[in-house]
């Protein structure tokens, strides 16, 4: 009795109450997405609005498939994100390793370029990159979406920091065993930085999955759209299929949530990316 009335417990209860209110605000839109995605358009804006999931999921899914070819668009997004993640991960690891463990002419310049890329917003490159892609005849192609950002400065920097801490003795002993540079890299070095590579892969996958502005500029034909571009075209018309829009948004977010729940640890360390030392 006395304990319950003590000001400290009351204070803590209040804090938990505020915390809960904030958490509701955070999470309710997700619940509402499920509700909205399973109702028809007219039910959605009916008064009172629906609070429980409805039975219109299948019909919304079919409508979404008809209007923007949703499965195709998701596969496009997935393919682009996977290729980008693998390609830029490999290039980041190689470049980070080269910068950390080799001395060559122009190393300082390259490191400077990497840091500059991190600081310069990519929008400054939009116009010239667009013109380059146009003159290469790459507009409306997947390589135009992937290639310009394949050398990822954040990834290179992260891998360089990782490899700076990598013991030279391991590299040396691989050489003593007769392994060449490439073999040493693939057999000894890469496997031992798997956690960092994983965190980087999650980070790059997410950034490519979210990418909107550049794919919007580059992709013109509907069958090549990525998910965000296709979803965006849905709001353009006069008659907007809101339920389909929410269903598409939810499904497009789902892969990110799955990755988050599967790899929480790597997720957070990838996101911290040097914000907190040690």
């Amino acid at each position: 009795m006395n304990a319950a009335a003590s000001p400290r417990r009351l204070g803590r209860a209040l804090v938990v109450l505020v915390l809960a209110a904030g958490a509701v605000v955070s999470v309710v839109p997700f619940y509402w997405m499920i509700v909205a995605a399973t109702h028809s358009n007219s039910e959605l804006f009916h008064s009172p609005p629906p609070f429980l999931p409805g039975g219109n999921l299948l019909r919304n899914l079919v409508a979404l498939e008809d209007s923007i070819g949703f499965s195709r668009v998701m596969l496009n997004s997935l393919g682009i994100a996977v290729v980008y993640t693998l390609g830029s991960g490999l290039i980041s690891a190689m470049c980070g390793y080269g910068l950390a463990k080799y001395r060559f002419r122009g190393r300082g310049l390259l490191l400077g370029l990497v840091l500059a890329t991190m600081m310069v917003p990519f929008q400054v490159l939009l116009v010239p990159l667009f013109q380059m892609m146009a003159s290469l005849g790459w507009v409306d192609s997947y390589q135009a979406v992937i290639l310009p950002f394949l050398a990822n400065s954040f990834g290179i920097f992260l891998m360089r920091q990782t490899f700076l801490a990598f013991p030279n003795e391991l590299i040396e002993s691989a050489r003593i065993d007769g392994a060449g540079d490439l073999r040493t890299f693939y057999r000894i070095v890469l496997p031992s930085v798997r956690p960092q590579l994983g965190a980087l892969a999650i980070f790059t996958f997410m950034s490519q999955w979210n990418a909107f502005l550049w794919p919007l500029l580059m992709l013109n034909s509907e069958d090549k759209y990525t998910a965000p571009v296709a979803l965006y075209t849905l709001v353009g018309g006069t008659h907007v299929d809101y339920a389909g829009l929410i269903l598409g948004s939810f499904l497009a977010t789902l892969p990110l949530m799955v990755i988050f729940f599967l790899f929480q640890k790597q997720f957070v360390s990838g996101l911290l990316g040097g914000a907190v030392k040690g």
């Binding site: 804090v15 915390l19 955070s26 839109p29 997700f30 997405m33 909205a36 804006f45 009916h46 008064s47 609005p49 290039i91 980041s92 190689m94 470049c95 080269g98 910068l99 463990k101 080799y102 001395r103 002419r105 122009g106 190393r107 370029l113 917003p121 400054v124 490159l125 939009l126 116009v127 010239p128 380059m132 310009p148 950002f149 050398a151 030279n168 040396e172 050489r175 007769g178 392994a179 060449g180 540079d181 490439l182 890299f185 502005l213 500029l217 965000p228 965006y232 829009l245 598409g248 948004s249 497009a252 977010t253 949530m257 988050f260 957070v268 996101l271 911290l272 914000a275 907190v276 030392k277």
Partner: protein, 311 residues
């Protein structure tokens, strides 16, 4: 190849020279690992960077880009829409970023309390918004905030309030944008700040409480100084993100109504790719680069100084 190996990293090169005679093996030149990235950077970063700087000093004259000196930059200074987009960004920087950082700090402080139960569940609940796809969450808010029949207005209706024209009124459109961004990014920043808090040794809190310091004093003397670099990280990344804002305001309002949610990047997108005015779009892009540089520098000075004094 042989000259390159002379310049190789000494620690790696030392045993190598002795072993070279013993066993032949595949050797590659020393820039080979960095080569692909370097080529990509030159082609897709250095060249377009130079090109965009050059273009910002040109204008289209009868289909030919012509050197016009600072004309595009002068035009920018007299362009009310550009100024409005900067003003909107300034508003976000002054209201949204501090609001979000303070909320994130409070949240991180609460999540760091040892008495709190289900701490990881709370953390997940707050972090979840930052796992949504950018365009998707903007879509969700667009539908939630729909004027007629949108969920937010329906709830307001039950509370006896009039429906608000969230996305078509200049003031409310900005409020909607601020609310959306804050929803998406507060938990993200809180998790980063929480990691910073957890890096502070527990003994320091204990020492403070033995010395009789209350929570506010503990925060001011122990937490704030050590959290400074993390707060700096959060505020710099949020500032840069705000200056590059595009997805959210394009989806929510397309920069409207009456450019109330126009941002420099959305504006340069429209100038460049709706009006195909590449020179002017490049000039706006460089203005954004300049502003990001100056603001980041100021924040480093502001938050960095005290740390340097301490050391």
């Amino acid at each position: 190849m042989s000259t390159d190996s002379l310049t190789s990293s000494p620690s790696v090169a030392a045993p190598e020279a002795a072993l070279r005679r013993a066993r032949p093996r595949v050797r590659i030149t020393h820039w080979a690992f960095a080569g692909p990235a370097a080529a990509l950077f030159v082609f897709f970063f250095a060249y377009p960077l130079g090109a965009s700087l050059y273009q910002s000093f040109t204008a289209d004259r009868a289909g030919v880009p012509t050197w016009v000196g600072f004309e595009q930059y002068q035009r920018m200074l007299h362009d009310p829409v550009f100024w409005k987009s900067l003003g909107n960004t300034g508003l976000l920087l002054v209201i949204q970023v501090p609001l979000m950082i303070v909320l994130a700090l409070v949240l991180a402080g609460i999540l760091n309390q040892s008495w709190l139960r289900f701490r990881s569940s709370w953390r997940i609940a707050y972090f979840l918004p930052s796992v949504t796809m950018l365009v998707a969450y903007a879509m969700v808010f667009k539908v939630l905030l729909k004027t007629d029949g949108g969920m937010v207005n329906q709830v307001l209706g039950w509370l006896g309030a009039q429906p608000v024209d969230w996305l078509n009124n200049p003031v409310w459109a900005r409020v909607s944008l601020i609310a959306s961004i804050t929803w998406r990014w507060t938990g993200y920043n809180a998790v980063i700040l929480l990691a910073g808090l957890q890096a502070i040794p527990k003994e320091q809190y204990e020492a403070a409480s033995i010395d009789g310091a209350g929570p506010i004093r503990t925060f001011a003397t122990i937490v704030a100084p050590q959290l400074r670099p993390v707060i700096l990280f959060c505020s710099v990344t949020s500032t840069i993100g705000t200056l590059q804002l595009f997805d959210e305001n394009l989806v929510l309002t397309r920069g409207g109504p009456d450019n109330a949610t126009m941002t420099p990047v959305l504006y340069l997108y429209k100038i460049g790719f709706d009006q195909l005015d590449f020179g002017y779009a490049s000039a706006i892009a460089w203005a954004v680069v300049l502003i990001i540089g100056v603001l980041s520098f100021l924040q480093f000075r502001f938050f960095g100084n005290a740390e340097r004094e301490k050391r």
